[in-house]
């Protein structure tokens, strides 16, 4: 069985139709890159997968491990293993990152009927994950994303992903706003999380990220549908030729 099956997905936001019959399948262990021009529906797809309120599915289905996600709340989807690394992570003043991580992890464990982690076990896991991402303990004591640089915010997203160990990770333009050093650290963190069970959707506008996170498959999105799929060379081709071939017809 596929990990994720998206079939004939139609979705709209504020009355505007964005996804128009999108089909996509992710196998366990697969890293799929989704590329496409601005407005093609990349971020909408990410939000629809995570169940963001206001993103209305009008037709089609999304199945994770065979189970439809459409009627599930965002937190229920999270507990089933859907993780979204945000393009613009939110700031939460006064809430220490450590507290946030712990609340999130325990909420998911509770929803799955697992016991809460003990404090030493929790701290150990955070420390391990943080070290790999060059996140200092001091940063974990600060308010969630408050005063973080662009790179720190993205590393914090990957830290959460490492801690929550999702089945399906969706990375929404994780490369935006990163310099090359930060990009390497983030990509390294993501690669470390590749596993035979886990699927990943890497949404990006540029090929650059895919030099570091090498995808198994590349899908091109245009006008809310997958219009072409290929291997990693497709990304290089897009880099050279641009998206004109895929947007031209209606322009």
């Amino acid at each position: 069985m596929s990990l994720l099956e998206i079939s004939n997905l139609h979705a709209r936001v504020e009355g505007k139709q964005i996804l128009n019959g999108l089909n996509l399948t992710i196998e366990p262990g697969q890293v799929a890159a989704i590329m496409g021009p601005n407005g093609s529906g990349k971020s909408t797809l990410a939000y629809v997968l995570a169940g963001r309120p206001g993103y209305e599915v009008t037709e089609g289905d999304i199945r994770l491990d065979g189970e439809s996600l459409l009627d599930l709340q965002p937190d229920e989807r999270a507990a089933r293993g859907v993780f979204l690394a945000f393009q613009y992570p939110m700031e939460i003043p006064g809430v220490a990152t450590m507290t946030f991580l712990r609340t999130a992890l325990n909420a998911q464990r509770k929803a799955r009927g697992e016991p809460e982690l003990t404090t030493p076990e929790f701290l150990k896991r955070v420390r391990e994950a943080a070290d790999h991402l060059e996140i200092k303990q001091e940063m974990l004591r600060r308010g969630v994303n408050v005063g973080f640089s662009g790179g720190e915010k993205k590393r914090n997203e990957i830290l959460q992903m490492a801690l929550l160990q999702p089945k399906l990770a969706v990375l929404d333009e994780t490369d935006s706003g990163l310099d090359i050093d930060a990009l390497k650290i983030v990509a390294d963190g993501v690669n470390r999380l590749r596993s035979p069970e886990r699927g990943m959707i890497v949404i990006t506008h540029y090929q650059r990220l895919l030099d570091y996170i090498v995808p198994d498959v590349v899908h091109v999105l245009s006008k809310g549908r997958v219009v072409k799929s290929g291997d990693k060379n497709l990304a290089l081709e897009l880099e050279a030729k641009g998206y004109a071939d895929y947007t031209g017809e209606a322009a």
């Binding site: 309120p53 709340q73 937190d75 999270a78 939460i92 003043p93 946030f100 992890l105």
Partner: protein, 494 residues
């Protein structure tokens, strides 16, 4: 439906269902006839066997009150109050005042048990555990409707020289102290509600900490309004003599009723040279139902006088209840180098209206004050911070720092900030910071994507918002306050 809307829906439902203290205790009570007149004032004074000077004081207040008009400057709206439609005295029926807990009506004790206020000392000893594992006993004075029913830990306090008793009893046993300080911070002419209180107050707590004594335990009063159509007018007077220290906690609840109940308390604090008073409140009066029916009208005058040099008064409040809140715990910084603090969390929900803040009046040299106010408004509520910071001509070197933040949940509520700042000398330094923010759909979605339920997400964000203030509450209260915040905003989780 957007997440925020759901929160608001939920919050609206919760108003009615979640007020946990809305039970009534069925006990016989001794009431004065309805309405207010000189005769009623005399009746109350006679009930308490008060000295003549006290009766005269009350009558003077009453005669003054008759000439006064209810203030209208606060940003609250309510139907005109018919002051003749209230009972001004209600007491649990008893032949005489209780000498020990065994003489207190068991039904009253049961009520306090339901509220989680352990009156019996052994329970107190067993119940309160501090963060560091040591146990700190809390002496409790419980006020039921207008009358103080029990004060615990009398003996132990006596050993330290601390006087902690109902003010009615203090009038009998320490009339000279009461006479010296009563009305010296909030004079009988002060304002409409304080003047009303001066005329009809029936009980409250009295604390005197002698020079150089650090009160060995937290003192606590729990106010419970039970009788129908009853006004509760308690009067609290706390004096910390030179070099003394006392920490005082106050909690309040009331049954759920359709009619509005009136509460007009006065709290006076006096800190002499080098003395320190810390006063904390968790106010959880019944807020009314989702349509704004019922609830307590809370018109309270709280003022501390830093009368001595280097004295310090600190107010910390968590306000979650009442239909109307009109309350400005203030500090008069009279002594040189005196300091005042005000830490406040005011949460309004449903149709609640809060107009609260503080006054820091700098009169002495090098006086300092600090104001941290966090207002949270949800549903259809209105939440106003109103504050005055002033420095007198002679208050050279006065300093104030004010930080005043508002958080909005949903888009039907309102947050308002009305700061008044007056500096009459050039060496004053006043700083004012204010922010208004909203729990956005995006912020909630971010938390929920990580696995938190909507309730957990709101609680997390709100707790982050109020953290600066919570840490100033005594440990036992901080825990209670945190729970209260969760309950009043999104109902019980899990």
């Amino acid at each position: 439906m957007p997440a925020i809307q759901e929160t608001v829906e939920q919050v609206r439902r919760i108003d009615v269902d979640q007020y946990r203290y809305g039970f009534e205790t069925d006990i016989e009570s001794d009431k004065a006839p309805k309405g207010l007149s000189e005769d009623i004032v005399r009746f109350i004074s006679a009930k308490k066997s008060e000295p003549q000077w006290m009766l005269d004081w009350r009558l003077e207040a009453y005669r003054r009150w008759v000439t006064m008009r209810e203030p209208t400057w606060a940003r609250v709206e309510y139907p005109k109050i018919d002051y003749q439609d209230y009972y001004y005295y209600a007491a649990p029926k008893q032949k005489k005042g209780p000498n020990s807990l065994d003489e207190v009506d068991p039904k009253i004790l049961e009520t306090y048990n339901k509220l989680g206020i352990p009156l019996r000392e052994q329970e107190v000893l067993a119940g309160v555990t501090r963060g560091d594992g040591t146990r700190t006993p809390v002496a409790v004075d419980a006020v039921f409707d207008s009358v103080s029913v029990a004060t615990t830990f009398q003996e132990e306090l006596k050993k330290a020289g601390v006087i902690f008793m109902p003010i009615s009893k203090a009038l009998q046993e320490h009339p000279e102290l009461v006479r010296k300080y009563l009305g010296s911070v909030v004079p009988i002419t002060d304002n409409f509600f304080a003047t009303l209180n001066s005329a009809v107050f029936s009980d409250g707590s009295f604390v005197y900490v002698p020079p150089g004594v650090r009160c060995p335990m937290e003192l606590s009063t729990y106010f419970r309004m039970n009788e129908k159509n009853t006004g509760q007018f308690e009067r609290t007077l706390i004096i910390a003599d030179k070099g003394a220290y006392v920490s005082y906690l106050e909690g309040c609840t009331a049954p759920m009723r359709d009619e509005n109940q009136l509460h007009a308390a006065v709290v006076e604090l006096v800190a002499l040279d080098d003395a320190e008073i810390k006063y904390s409140t968790v106010q959880n009066w019944y807020p009314g139902d989702a349509d704004g029916k019922g609830g307590i009208y809370n018109f309270v005058t709280k003022r501390g006088d830093c009368r001595g040099d280097r004295s310090k008064i600190s107010w910390t409040q968590v306000e979650t209840g009442s239909a109307i809140t009109w309350k400005y715990p203030s500090c008069i910084l009279r002594g040189n180098d005196a300091s005042g603090e005000f830490y406040s969390i005011a949460i309004s929900n449903g149709r609640q209206q809060v107009d609260s803040g503080t006054k820091m009046v700098h009169l002495g040299k090098n006086t300092t004050s600090r104001i941290i106010s966090k207002g949270i408004a949800a549903a259809y509520s209105q939440n106003t911070y109103r504050g005055l910071v002033s420095a007198h001509r002679k208050a050279t070197g006065a300093r104030n720092f004010t930080n005043c933040d508002s958080l909005l949940i949903g888009n039907k509520c309102g947050a308002h900030t009305v700061p008044y700042i007056e500096a009459k000398n050039a060496s004053t330094i006043f700083e004012h910071e204010a922010t208004t923010s909203k729990i956005s759909d995006q912020m909630l979605f971010y938390c929920r994507q990580r696995g938190m339920s909507e309730e957990e997400a709101v609680a997390l964000v709100v707790n982050g918002f109020v953290k600066d203030v919570l840490q100033h509450l005594p440990m036992e209260f901080a825990v209670e306050a945190q729970k209260l915040i969760s309950i009043s905003l999104e109902g019980s989780v899990g």
